[in-house]
Symmetry: C2
Subunit: 160 residues, 2 copies
Amino acid sequence: MSLIAKSRVLDRIDLAILDELQKNGRISNVNLAKQVNLSPSPCLDRVKRLEAEGFIEGYFAKLSEQKLNQSLLAHVQVSLVTSNTSVFKTFKEHIVKTPQVVECDMVAGGYDYLLKVRVSDMNEYRKVLGDLVDIPGVGTHHTYMVIEKVKEDTGLRIDL
Amino acid sequence: MSLIAKSRVLDRIDLAILDELQKNGRISNVNLAKQVNLSPSPCLDRVKRLEAEGFIEGYFAKLSEQKLNQSLLAHVQVSLVTSNTSVFKTFKEHIVKTPQVVECDMVAGGYDYLLKVRVSDMNEYRKVLGDLVDIPGVGTHHTYMVIEKVKEDTGLRIDL
DNA sequence: AGAAAATACCGCAGAATATGCTGGTTTAAT
DNA sequence: ATTAAACCAGCATATTCTGCGGTATTTTCT
């Protein structure tokens, strides 16, 4: 017997459930069941299983960036001067503590980072960038201020 | 009387509701009410109002990128050769049609774009990039492949 | 300051939904 | 062909949703 946890194969119904929940996270189970041509009980069973198996990580409300005054977005490319462990540790600690940095990816060879920064206005951005470049070990940086959002797909692609 | 739709000021309870729903989008109304020290009725009233006023844009299930085999992420910087309207139109049409491109921001002066591409593996990425560079008007491009996700905050910042 | 109005809150009741259980059916493997 | 496993529908109970009426608190106007 294999020690690897078996990952059940998803059938068409499971995929339809995921696709629907990804678009409408608060749909009632009875309506979800109708949507996927199932009666409520087995539908709920499947949802519970998809949650337990980790296919569904959670449910979240999407809030309005405009209404909550956080509609200015910038991508910042940052290079560290060395791959030194303590330099990275300091950098990461700062990033985690800075709430305006909503995303941080290590890219390419290991010294480069791409940050996504969400702020209310340029003044706030200036402060965030000022703090960022003061971190020891931070070398070059370049800001890509977002002018227009052309596309944004939050969900994953589901092939039904 | 003003024709501007009045935007009610959010009090501490509204912010607490938004903060909770952003973390737990499927919490029951009775539990949400307990969380914010309210009885269910006014709590539901507030949620409905926050939805109607656009503070809450929707509810979504977050699916597992790993489990659904879409865990390879790349940021791609693309420059168009001109700001020509039809060039941009063609570019945008391609982007919208390509499901692997999950995000596309126009940045800086107007010819540069930052794409976020989500694929299952390098082979798929190669195809996506190949199609991308074949679009007429696309000039230089540079790929930042994500090695490690250092931080990811989906929600907005709420100051309670 | 005092009265009137508006707003927000609570608790209750009927309707809808969630959830566990049972039994019957299909599917897969031996 | 037989057995085992998985799946599905329907029912019963518990929970939750949701609208309504009454009360308290805050706001506004005189």
